[in-house]
Every structure is written in C-alpha cells, then in structure tokens.
C-alpha cells in the first residue's frame, strides 16, 4: 500500500474533479447566478476556516475564540500585496505571505496562551484577536476603521475550490499521521499524553500554527473576493460564527465541518428574504440541532467511516 494511486485515492480524485467541473458548468450556463456565487464563496471560505479551527479545537481540544484574528491578518497581508502587485502572481504571492504571516502570529500568540486551559484559553485567544483588530484599526497602512477598498478580485471558483481541497486533504492527512494522533491524545488526556512521550506544548503550538496558516489563506481569499475589508469584519462575532460551524458539524469531524459550513450558508441565504426574523430563525436552527445532537451533526464520524464499516463486515470470521 505504498502507492498513492490506490483505487480509493483515484475515486476521491474523480469526485473532486467532477464536483469542480459540475459547478463550473452550472456557472457557465447561468444556473448558478452571481448572487449564488457569493454564497458559494462564503461556503468555501467557511469550510477552510472551520476545518482549520476543528484541528485546534475539535482534534487537539484547545478552545480558541480568536480564529477570525488570524483570518484578518491573512486578509490584510494579501490585500496590501495584491493592491501593489495587481496580477495573478501578486495574488498567489499574497496568499502565501498571508498564510505565513498568520502562522508566525499564531506561534507568537500560541506559545504564551496555550499554557492556559479551557475557559482561560478561550478568553486569552479572544483577547489576542481583539488586540489584532485594534492594531489594524490604528495602523496607517491598513487605513484604520475605514479599511481597505478596491482590492483587485482574483479569487474565483477555481482558486477557492483548489484551496478548499488543499485544506481538507492536508489537514486530513495530518490527523491521520503520528503527529496528528499526538494532537488528539492531548484532547483525550493531557497527563497521559505527556507520560507517553508526547511534548504537549509543542503539539498544541503546532496545531495552533497550522490552524492559523489556513485561517490566513481563508482571509486572503476573502479579501480578494469581496473587494473590501475593515477591522470589524473580523471581530468577535466572526470567530463565534466559525466556532458554531465546528460545534454544529461535530468537534473532531472534518466531514461534519464541511456539511455544517454548507448547511449554515444555505440557511442563512434562504433566510435573507426574511430580514426581520432571520437571526431568530438562525439561532433556532442551532438550538434545535444542539438539543437533538449535542455531539454535533456527525460527532467524530467521517464520511470515510462508511467504507470502513463495509470492509469490517466482510472480514467477519
């Protein structure tokens, strides 16, 4: 089983390409309108955000309320670069710089705050994200509260989809590696993990850094799609939004995060015509799901578990 070209991998690749082509075709025949496209962009960006936060909170068990902070760093870095170098190359360099900048800040913030646990960590990450927001609010280069506008648009279906797939594949691979299992062991029992040779501080910071990396990419895609960013776009409520997707989908299920991101974006779009009651409905949907599925829609299950189940049945002796 050392080749990447297994039947399963080819099947997955086929599905990935098929989805891409399908959406592309629907867009070109006008079935997906430019109005729908905004929902599509929201879904893609939220998937990247939720899957990366799930690594930190769902898999490693470190409650973070600051994910939007790292997204904002990515958004500003990419925006500033692509505004200066208005080209696809500039955009790609912008994404890379966005991801790296977010990672660096993630590591710097992670090292002191990840010593804290539970509620304390949540509050500390919240505070850090607020600090990031206030910094952007006061910097000259980011144009303060007015924000940056007229950011060239390079984010399109192709790039969004590419980065969604990359995020899912890379984080999924990581979780299925020894390093990923080390992260999960921290969630399960930190003392036992440490006693089994796991440097828990290192892996917490690692998970946090990886999470920040992808949040930075999400921010970059956001900036170059919506033309306009301001510090308040990435406030506390945005962090909560991402956390809601993770909790709703299931802490520790990548599939769950994807499904929840799609579902919530659709619900939210559908409710847009009922502006007055929109937020009440949205909250109601959340409350109902959490009452009936407190572990989230998928718990810790993944779509691949379906295949495992079948194989297990075949092997009964």
């Amino acid at each position: 089983m050392t080749s990447v070209l297994t039947k399963k991998n080819l099947l997955i690749l086929g599905c990935i390409l098929l989805t891409f082509v399908l959406v592309q075709v629907l867009m070109s025949v006008g079935f997906i309108t430019s109005f729908h496209e905004i929902t599509l962009a929201t879904i893609c960006i939220n998937i990247i955000l939720a899957v990366s936060l799930n690594l930190v909170t769902g898999f490693t068990g470190q409650f973070s309320l600051g994910h939007a902070g790292f997204m904002s760093i990515g958004a500003y870095v990419c925006a500033l670069i692509v505004m200066r170098f208005d080209s696809v190359a500039g955009f790609l360099v912008g994404i890379l710089a966005a991801a790296l900048a977010a990672t660096i800040v993630g590591i710097l913030i992670g090292i002191p705050t990840l010593r804290l646990k539970g509620d304390y960590l949540a509050i500390a990450t919240l505070g850090m994200a607020e600090i990031i927001r206030v910094v952007f609010l006061n910097l000259e280069i980011t144009n303060g509260a007015a924000g940056l506008s007229g950011i060239p648009r390079y984010t399109n279906w192709f790039w969004m989809y590419l980065f969604v797939v990359l995020t899912i594949v890379l984080i999924n691979n990581f979780i299925r590696s020894s390093h990923g299992r080390a992260c999960i062991s921290i969630r399960e029992d930190e003392i036992a993990a440490e006693s089994m040779g796991i440097n828990t501080t290192k892996f917490k910071v690692m998970a946090f850094a990886i999470g920040s990396f992808f949040a930075g990419i999400a921010g970059a895609l956001y900036a170059s799609y919506f033309y306009f960013i301001k510090p308040n776009t990435f406030g506390f409520l945005k962090s909560i939004d991402i956390l809601v997707i993770v909790v709703l989908g299931g802490m520790g299920s990548i599939t769950g995060s994807i499904i929840a991101a799609v579902l919530l974006a659709l619900v939210s779009t559908f409710l847009q015509s009922f502006t007055a009651v929109r937020m009440i409905f949205y909250a109601l949907v959340l409350v109902i799901i959490m009452i009936f599925r407190p572990q989230g829609l998928l718990g810790t299950k993944e779509i691949t578990d379906l295949f495992k189940f079948r194989r297990k049945n075949e092997r009964i002796e």
Binding site: F174, S185, S195, M196
Partner: protein
C-alpha cells in the same frame, strides 16, 4: 552503580510532606515492590520519578549501561523522562478512552517515529512504510495481552481488566528500560491476578526490563518481587527480601494500624 538511584527525595504539598527523605535504588533487571498503607506516598513517588512533580529536594539518577555519566531525572518534563526510558501505568486508569485500542498504543510509539512533518501532511512513501511498521509492532504488543482482535474497539468499551492490560501495553510501546506499574492488579479477580503475575514475570525477561511495582495485593508482591520497599506516611520504614518484610515489626504495625483505623 544501580540503574536508578533515588537519593533523599522529598516532596511537600504545602504543609503535607507526601514523600519524606526517601532513598531507594533499582538494579538492572530487578523486580522490586513498593508497598505501604493508603496515602503512604507511593503514587507520589511515581509522579516524582516520571516528572509529573518536581522533587522539593533530593535527586533521581538514571545510569544507563551505554552511558558514562548518570542522568538527573528530577525536574525533567514527563515526555523527556519517557524518552530516557521510564514508562508507567496509572493507578486510576488513564487511557485515551475515546480512541481505539490500536491508537492508544500507536500514540505511545510517537517518540520513535521515523518521519517528519512534511510526510505527515503529504503521506510520502516513508509515511506508509513507517505506519505499516507501527501497526505491526502495536499488534505484536497487543497480542501479548490477547487484545489484538480488539484493536479497533474504543478503549472505554474494554472490560476493566483488559483496560489495565492495555495500559501496560501502551507503556511498553514507549520502549522503556524501567517499567513502573501502579497497582496493576487493582480490581482484578484472583484468576486475573494470577495470570497478570505470570505476564509480568514474562515481560521482564522478554523485554529485558527493570520493574518497580506498587501493589496492595500481597500475594502478588510476595510471589514475584525480589526486594520490597515499604513506605508509611511518606517515610521509608523498611526494605528487604519478601520474607524479611513479612517478619518486620514496623511493617506489621503500619498495616495493622491501617486495619484498625479502617475498622
């Protein structure tokens, strides 16, 4: 020089001295018992040896055969202690409950993993080779405890005795030189205890281990330990061969005292 030397180790929690000026040693290949009434400080001593606590004073030295100078373990982080060759089980089982039996063992193998972060993300050939090796090794360990067929079950779904076994398998997966077992027979019935006794004896030979064993079950301790240390109120009150310990007045008093207070 002994493999492990505990020299005048003390641990205080505020006003309470849980371990008081204790000196002990383990020679290579020995199976040593550590007994004492409830609250005597046995588990605290394990926590000191494994880096969960830092000694208030005293030192813990590990002299590996292949190294010239002894290493000081006191004050090391638990994962570094494990790396130098000490592994433990917990009195109150601390498995990764919601993970599979196989994952419990594989996590303990992480410190010897042979691939880096890029392979973790991109699953290069090295990843597959190494994961195959890991799985094989883990299954071999599980086999010793007759758990291989349950490798895909969640640890929390195993019966109590098997959870204790899995904890030992997990500790062995770190490739220890010294194995610390904290009441491995607690909650087991006599047959299970008897079979565990055999397993521990066999493990010591097979894995070339030095074992320190905390146990309340005297039949087990007296049967397999070559030497025994006795703690009471944090102090070492006796040490010697099982027969000597059984005849020791202070030990009898300590245990009688406990029974009287429990009555």
């Amino acid at each position: 020089m002994p493999l492990l030397s505990i020299e005048k180790v003390t641990k205080s929690f505020g006003g309470l001295t849980a371990v008081s000026n204790v000196s002990m040693h383990l020679n290579k290949g020995e199976l040593v018992g550590l007994i004492g009434p409830n609250g005597a400080g046995k588990t605290t001593l394990f926590n000191l040896l494994t880096g969960v606590y830092e000694p208030t004073s005293g030192s813990i030295k590990l002299q590996l055969e292949e190294e010239k100078n002894p290493r000081e373990l006191g004050g090391l982080k638990p994962y570094n202690v494990t790396k130098t060759g000490l592994a433990r089980t917990f009195q109150n089982i601390r498995l990764f409950k919601d993970l599979t039996v196989l994952d419990n063992v594989r996590i303990a193998m992480h410190q010897n993993i042979q691939y880096q972060l890029p392979s973790a993300f991109l699953h290069f050939n090295k990843y597959h080779k190494e994961e195959d090796r890991l799985k094989e090794e883990a299954e071999r360990l599980l086999d010793i405890f007759h758990l291989a067929h349950k490798k895909n079950e969640l640890a929390k779904n195993l019966p109590y005795g098997e959870q204790r076994h899995l904890e030992i398998a997990r500790a062995l997966a770190t490739k220890p030189v010294i194995l610390l077992l904290d009441e491995p027979a607690a909650g087991m019935n006599p047959q299970e205890t008897a079979s565990l006794t055999e397993t521990i004896k066999w493990l010591r030979k097979e894995f070339d281990l030095t074992i320190l064993l905390i146990e309340h079950d005297m039949s087990l301790v007296m049967k397999i330990c070559e030497r025994i240390y006795v703690l009471d109120y944090g102090m070492l009150i006796a040490s010697g061969k099982p027969a000597e310990i059984r005849a020791n007045k202070r030990v009898i008093e300590a245990y009688l005292g406990e029974e009287v207070s429990h009555a």
